[in-house]
C-alpha cells in the first residue's frame, strides 16, 4: 500500500486546488530565483567579457615599479615604461594559449583643430592588428577603424570618442593636431587624420578619449618605450596557468623586474559590481524565502485543520506523533520538490522567451549604450532551487506539524 511518501502524494491529490496553489507559490519563487540568478550570471559574464575584450586583456605585463606606483586612471608615465618590450612580447607570444601580447602607450595632451578649437585629451596607443587577434572590440559609431599595419610617418590616424569629437567639431577625414609633452619635457605635435568616431561606453570618458596606433603615440611622445603589454588568451579559464607561467618566465629579470597583473586587479569596480549584485540576489532570495515559507505554511495548516478527524483516527489506531509528523513533512517535501521542478521548467521557458525577444534595458548611470536583457541558464541555480525549496517547505511544515501532533485524540475524533 501507499505509505510514507506515497500516502503523502495521494493526500496532496485530494485537494487539487489547494495543492495547485501551493505548487504555484513554490514554482513562482523558483522562477524568481532562476531569473534573478540568470540575469546576474549573464551580467557578470557580459561585464567580464566587456572588460577583457574592451581593452584590459586577460593579463598585463608591466614594469614592477610602474605597477607599484600606478593609479586607476589611464594617465601613466613612461618613466617606468618597457624598453625591451619587443623581446618580452616575443617571449610571451611563444607561450601556448596566448593569442597575442599587444603594446599599449598611454598619453595625454591637447587636441586642436586647424580652425582653433582645442580640447584636452587622454589617449591610448594600441596595436590594432593584435587587438583584433585578441578579440578586442571597438565601438565604432562613424568612419572606419584604425588600419592594421604600422602607419608611415605623416599617415597617422586617430579614433576620436564622440564627446571629444563634438567638442573639437571634427568628423572622419578631418585632421587634428595632437600636442603632448615628451619624456624630456619638450612639447611635441603630431598631425593625425580622424579615421572614425567611437564610444567607450562611458559618458565622461567619451569627452576626452582618443585612440591611435602605438607607433603614432610613440612618435608624438618621441619614445621607443611602451607602458605595458596586454596579454590576450585563447581561453578565459587559462588565466591562472598563464599568469603562473609568465611569472616563472620573468622571475630571473632582477635588473628590470616585471609584474604580471590579472585583469580583475585592474578593474576593482568589477568586484564591487559583483558584490552589489550578490547582495541584491540574497536580498531577493530572502524575500522569496520568507514569502514561500509563510504562504505554504498557511496552506499546510489548512490541510491539517481539514483533516483533524482523520489525524485523530490515525492516532487512535496507533499512529505515533512522529509518524503523523513524517506524513505532513512528506507532503511538504513533495510540494517543495514538485513545485521547484515545475518552477525550473517555467523558468527555463521564460529564459528562452526573454532571450528570444531581444529586449534592452536603458543604459546605467554614466553609460552610453543600452544593455541587452539576456538571462543565463545557471545549472547550479536549477539544482539549488530544488534543494532550497525542499528545505523551505520543510521549514514551512514545522508549524503545521506542531499543530497536528498537539491534537488530543478524543477532541480530534469529535472535531466538526
Amino acid at each position: 500500500m501507499a505509505s510514507g511518501f506515497g500516502l503523502a502524494l495521494r493526500n496532496l491529490a485530494r485537494n487539487r486546488r489547494r495543492t495547485a496553489i501551493s505548487l504555484s507559490i513554490v514554482a513562482a519563487g523558483t522562477v524568481g530565483l532562476l531569473l534573478t540568478a540568470g540575469f546576474i550570471q549573464f551580467s557578470f559574464a557580459g561585464l567580464e567579457d566587456a572588460l577583457i575584450h574592451g581593452g584590459l586583456g586577460h593579463l598585463e605585463v608591466v614594469a614592477k615599479a610602474a605597477a607599484d606606483e600606478r593609479s586607476a586612471t589611464l594617465e601613466r608615465s613612461l618613466a617606468h615604461g618597457l624598453v625591451d618590450w619587443p623581446a618580452i612580447q616575443a617571449d610571451i607570444e611563444s607561450l601556448p594559449g596566448v593569442a597575442a601580447a599587444a603594446p599599449n602607450v598611454h598619453l595625454m595632451g591637447m587636441a586642436s583643430k586647424p580652425d582653433g578649437a582645442t580640447v584636452s585629451f587622454i589617449g591610448l596607443g594600441v596595436d590594432p592588428e593584435r587587438e583584433r587577434r585578441m578579440g578586442f572590440t571597438t565601438k565604432l559609431r562613424a568612419g572606419a577603424d584604425l588600419a592594421a599595419g604600422e602607419p608611415a610617418p605623416g599617415q597617422d590616424q586617430v579614433l576620436v570618442a564622440l564627446g571629444l569629437a563634438e567638442s573639437l567639431g571634427v568628423a572622419p577625414g578631418d585632421v587634428v593636431t595632437l600636442l603632448a609633452m615628451t619624456s624630456d619635457q619638450t612639447l611635441n605635435a603630431l598631425d593625425v587624420r580622424v579615421a572614425g568616431l567611437v564610444t567607450t561606453g562611458i559618458q565622461d570618458l567619451d569627452t576626452r578619449y582618443l585612440k591611435l596606433h602605438f607607433r603614432s603615440a610613440q612618435r608624438l611622445l618621441a619614445t621607443e618605450r611602451v607602458n605595458d603589454l596586454i596579454v590576450g588568451l585563447d581561453d578565459n579559464d587559462d588565466l591562472a596557468t598563464a599568469q603562473a607561467a609568465l611569472e616563472a618566465r620573468f622571475a630571473s629579470r632582477e635588473d628590470a623586474p616585471l609584474a604580471v597583473v590579472p585583469w580583475r586587479d585592474r578593474a576593482p569596480f568589477y568586484d564591487q559590481v559583483r558584490n552589489l549584485y550578490r547582495g541584491i540576489f540574497w536580498f531577493l532570495g530572502s524575500v522569496i524565502f520568507v514569502l514561500v515559507v509563510l504562504a505554504t505554511s498557511n496552506t499546510l495548516v489548512m490541510t491539517v485543520m481539514e483533516r483533524v478527524r482523520e489525524i485523530g483516527t490515525l492516532r487512535a489506531i496507533g499512529t505515533s506523533r512522529g509518524q503523523v509528523a513524517r506524513m505532513i513533512v512528506a507532503e511538504a517535501l513533495w510540494l517543495g520538490v514538485l513545485g521547484a521542478l515545475v518552477g525550473n521548467l517555467l523558468g527555463l521557458g521564460l529564459i528562452v522567451l526573454i532571450n528570444g525577444l531581444g529586449l534592452q534595458m536603458p543604459p546605467p548611470p554614466g553609460a552610453v549604450n543600452p544593455i541587452d536583457l539576456k538571462l543565463a541558464v545557471v545549472p547550479a541555480a536549477l539544482v539549488g532551487s530544488v534543494v532550497l525549496m525542499t528545505a523551505v517547505l520543510a521549514l514551512a511544515s514545522v508549524f503545521p506539524v506542531l499543530k497536528a501532533v498537539r491534537l488530543k485524540v478524543v477532541e480530534a475524533l469529535t472535531h466538526v
Binding site: M1, A2, S3, L7, R10, N11, A13, R14, R309, E310, G312, T313, L314, R315, A316, I317, G318, T319, S320, R321, Q323, K408, V409, V410, L413
Partner: protein, 232 residues
C-alpha cells in the same frame, strides 16, 4: 491467575465547556474479563463514549486508576499508550473513519504498516481480514465507492487485522439501516466468539443491547446497572 483485561477503579472525567464543568464520568468501577462481550447503553451524555475512550487509552482520567492486563496504564506516557493501542486494541467508530485516499485493502493494511509488518504479509492478512467480513470482492475499492455497511465492515477488518486483545466500538451501527445493523452485529459477535476478542460496544439500540451477554447501563456518569446472562 489471568488478570482482567480492563480493571477500572473510581474512574472519573470532567470536561470544561466554557465556564461550566461537565462531569462525564463520576467514579466508575468496572472489571472486564478477557474474551467478554459487553454492551454499554444509556442516554446521550451518560458517559458511554467517555468510558470507552478511557478504556481505549484515547483519553486520560482525572481520577481513579485503570489497569490493562494487570498493568496500571493511566500514568503511562503517550508514546507507550500509542504502542498499546497499536498492538492490543482495535477501534470501530460510528462514522467509520476510513482514510479516503486508500483502497479498502490499504485501509486494512494501515495498522500493519505502522506496526512494521512486511509488505507481503500485510497484504495477505488484510486480504484475509476483508474476506472474513465478506468483502473479498471489494479489495481495491476506495471508501467512497462502498456502501455504509461495507465501509463499516472495512473499519471492522481494520480494527481486527492485527489481532487485538479488545475491540472497542462506539455506536458501530449508529449510521446504518436495520438490515445492515444486524449483519454488522452478527459479524462483531462472531469475531468475539471465534477469535476470543474482547468486545465492548456502546449503543442506543435496545435490541442490540439486549443481545449482549453482559449489559452495562450508565446514567449521569455512573453505572446504574450491570447485568449478565445467567443471573450475573
Amino acid at each position: 491467575m489471568t488478570p482482567p483485561l480492563f480493571e477500572a477503579r473510581g474512574l472519573g472525567k470532567t470536561y470544561r465547556l466554557g465556564e461550566a464543568r461537565i462531569e462525564a464520568l463520576a467514579g466508575v468501577d468496572v472489571t472486564i474479563e478477557a474474551g467478554a462481550l459487553v454492551a454499554l447503553a444509556g442516554p446521550s451524555g451518560s458517559g458511554k463514549s467517555t468510558l470507552l475512550n478511557l478504556l481505549g487509552l484515547l483519553d486520560e482520567p482525572d481520577t481513579g486508576t485503570l489497569k490493562f492486563s494487570g498493568r496500571e496504564v493511566q500514568a503511562l506516557p503517550e508514546s507507550e499508550k500509542t504502542l498499546l493501542r497499536r498492538r492490543l486494541l482495535g477501534f470501530v467508530f460510528q462514522s467509520f473513519h476510513l482514510l479516503p485516499v486508500l483502497s479498502a485493502r490499504e485501509n486494512v493494511e494501515y495498522p500493519l504498516v505502522i506496526a512494521g509488518v512486511g509488505r507481503n504479509e500485510r497484504r495477505q492478512r488484510a486480504t484475509e481480514a476483508l474476506a472474513a467480513v465478506g468483502l473479498a470482492d471489494r479489495l481495491d475499492h476506495p471508501p467512497d465507492r462502498l456502501s455504509g455497511g461495507e465501509r463499516q465492515r472495512v473499519a471492522i477488518a481494520r480494527a481486527v487485522v492485527h489481532g487485538p486483545a479488545a475491540l472497542l466500538a462506539d455506536e458501530p451501527t449508529g449510521n446504518l439501516d436495520s438490515k445492515t445493523t444486524a449483519a454488522i452485529v452478527d459479524l462483531l459477535f462472531r469475531l468475539n466468539q471465534e477469535r476470543g476478542t474482547t468486545l465492548l460496544f456502546a449503543t442506543h439500540d435496545p435490541a442490540l443491547f439486549a443481545r449482549a451477554p453482559r449489559r452495562i447501563r450508565l446514567a449521569d456518569g455512573r453505572i446504574v446497572a450491570d447485568e449478565r446472562d445467567g443471573g450475573g
